[in-house]
């Protein structure tokens, strides 16, 4: 087991390096120049080329790409992601301001979705092709079909019209004022949680359906076991592996992938930060964010793989 974990931890390095290199290249390929943008963009008229060159030099953009990449990597090793080219503040500092909000949203949405998805997915599988199954499937397919930003717009629409409530501009962390935090976060959490629950419900249903057709389930029925014991003890535990994988990967992407929800609810989270950074060609910020998301993705993946052994004792890692 220890060897396995060590091996997996070592494998993280090439994956992260690959993702870092990819985003480094993509950001450099995008037309647009941060130095030019700082001076007011392409429409700024006459910008002194000397000033522009000085700005590029100050930002370190005049060095060869490989040197820039090396400098950046060396910084990452010391947990220094550089300064934002746009605001001049350290990237780590900028991220720490936004991370609590995104983490809270991702965690709460995951909890909401798991609490909803697993019981309903089970119910749909156990009662396949009955009206219960149809209702659950229609609601869960609806969750995939309805764009989350539209649900957000509708939420705000009703809240504004009926309660005169508008989304606040400042984020209140839960440890400062839990009630204010709840009021602010409950709708985004519901919006994201519904979509996420829909995905998980479908996965639970289809994997449980597969498992319930296995021979050992038929044996359990033949032995006269009760339905509850069969579904929970023999069915669910064996059906959980793909479901856990899905929950894990979706969670990793939730941290940075909620651009649209954050835009609708004017939340100052990591997702919006990415979009702004891409628009500003703020290389260090985009690189740090992609690195962060890829890192959480591989870590979550590793944790998911390790929980497999608990769910399925046949799995032994070497």
């Amino acid at each position: 087991m220890q060897t396995y974990i060590a091996k997996r931890l070592l494998l993280i390095i090439p994956t992260l390096l690959g993702a870092a290199a990819l985003v480094f290249v993509i950001m450099r390929v995008i037309p647009g120049d941060v130095a030019l943008l700082i001076f007011g963009g392409d429409q700024a008229g006459h910008i002194d080329p000397k000033q522009l060159a000085a700005m590029r030099h100050r930002l370190g953009l005049d060095q060869p790409l490989i040197v820039q990449f090396g400098t950046w990597l060396w910084g990452v090793l010391r947990f220094d992601f550089g300064n934002s080219l746009w605001t001049g503040r350290p990237v780590v500092e900028e991220l720490l301001v936004r991370l609590p909000l995104s983490l809270e949203l991702a965690l709460a949405a995951t909890v909401v979705s798991v609490v909803i998805a697993i019981p309903f997915g089970m119910l749909a599988a156990v009662r396949q092709d009955t009206w219960v199954d149809y209702v659950i499937r229609v609601i869960s397919i609806g969750g995939l079909a309805i764009p989350s930003f539209w649900v957000g717009i509708l939420c705000i629409l009703f809240l504004v019209i009926w309660f005169g409530w508008g989304p606040p501009l400042e984020f209140t962390p839960p440890w400062v004022d839990p009630w204010a935090n709840f009021q602010q976060m409950v709708w985004p959490i519901v919006t994201v949680g519904y979509r996420y629950a829909a995905v998980t419900t479908r996965m639970t249903r289809s994997t449980l359906l597969e498992v319930l057709r296995e021979d050992y389930i038929r044996t359990a029925w033949a032995k006269g076991q009760r339905e509850r014991a069969i579904v929970f003890r023999h069915g669910l535990k064996n059906a959980m592996l793909p479901v856990i994988t899905l929950i894990g990967t979706e969670f990793a992407f939730l941290i940075g992938g909620l651009v649209v929800t954050e835009t609708v609810f004017t939340l100052n989270g990591v997702g919006r930060f990415v979009v702004d950074a891409v628009a500003h060609r703020d290389y260090p910020v985009v690189q740090a964010l992609v690195f962060l998301i890829a890192f959480s993705f591989v870590i979550v993946n590793l944790l998911v793989d390790l929980t497999y052994a608990w769910f399925d004792p046949r799995i032994r890692y070497r």
């Binding site: 690959g18 993702a19 764009p147 930003f149 539209w150 992407f253 940075g256 979009v275 985009v286």
Partner: protein, 293 residues
């Protein structure tokens, strides 16, 4: 020792099961998969609206009328008008074209390329796909969209690239098991080249997961187009795209004219809902493990 048997022509007495006509096949599908049939009906309706948008749409989707800004839904304008006085129903009808075009081309391109890569990587390792999978999908699409600039074709490219690793992973899993079949070993032993083995013997046998992932990605691609357009990186004004109709004006006029944001959202949801329902039932029908008892 050879023995001569008298050859007699026996006549089978059992009657053949009558061959189902197309109408009966459809009736059977509707009976056994009612949700799938509902999905197919939605898709067909959407295609019909997209195909016959010119005769069906009551107004020109591009022409504004400043005397008719924010008109409420009425007999003249069923879904009301937007901030430029353009008829929302007509824009939704033309928007179905963009949605279907982006949905079909992006998922077809992404799944086909991904499927081929999946089959090839069943032979040659998988590290590249791991890197692409660890890469946040939306950021990839955002980056590509901002490299290429807003236009319908660029949206297709931006959406199809993140589909590639997903399709590759699914197809690869099947290809790995197909590869182990004895007939593949047999053609290899007969001296068939590797490209020939892959194209003639592996590819036809991974078509089922390919079709499943293709239909699964269709709805997702339509949603992605809406999200990109909503963020201002998809199709550009004045193209009638459903996502674009929800961006900018819809939230800011939420109190004054809620219909601007309401109907395009219903259109997106209904379209994606149709594709998902159909895809789901198709998967249930094609995957023997999921068939009803």
């Amino acid at each position: 020792m050879a023995t001569n048997y008298a050859l007699t022509h026996a006549t089978a007495t059992a009657e053949l099961a009558p061959r189902l006509t197309v109408a009966e096949e459809v009736a059977k599908f509707v009976r056994t998969k009612p949700l799938g049939a509902a999905g197919a009906a939605i898709i067909l309706a959407m295609m019909a609206v997209a195909g016959f948008a010119e005769p069906l749409a009551p107004y020109d989707p591009y022409r504004g009328d400043y005397g008719l800004q924010f008109a409420r839904p009425s007999a003249d304008h069923w879904f009301g008008t937007d901030e430029f006085g353009r008829d929302i129903l007509s824009r939704i009808m033309y928007g179905a074209r963009i949605a279907l075009f982006v949905g079909f081309t992006a998922s077809f391109a992404g799944c086909t390329l991904g499927g081929l890569l999946g089959v090839i990587s069943a032979y040659y390792g998988e590290r590249l796909m791991d890197i692409l999978l660890a890469f946040p999908q939306l950021i990839l699409a955002l980056a590509i969209a901002s490299i290429l600039g807003p236009s319908v074709e660029n949206v297709v490219i931006a959406i199809s690239i993140p589909i590639i690793p997903r399709a590759a992973r699914v197809v690869r899993a099947t290809a790995l098991s197909v590869k182990e079949n004895v007939y593949v070993e047999a053609v290899s032993a007969l001296g068939a080249s590797r490209p020939r083995v892959i194209l003639q013997h592996i590819v036809p046998n991974v078509m089922a997961p390919y079709i499943i992932i293709l239909t699964a990605q269709l709805g997702g691609a339509i949603l992605a187009e809406a999200a990109l357009s909503y963020l201002g990186l998809g199709t550009a004004e004045p193209t009638p795209s459903w996502g674009l109709m929800l961006s900018g004006s819809a939230p800011s006029y939420a109190e004054k004219a809620p219909w601007i944001g309401l109907f395009p959202g219903i259109a997106i949801s209904l379209g994606v809902f149709g594709f998902n329902l159909f895809g789901d039932s198709l998967r249930d029908a094609l995957d023997p493990k999921l068939r009803g008892r």
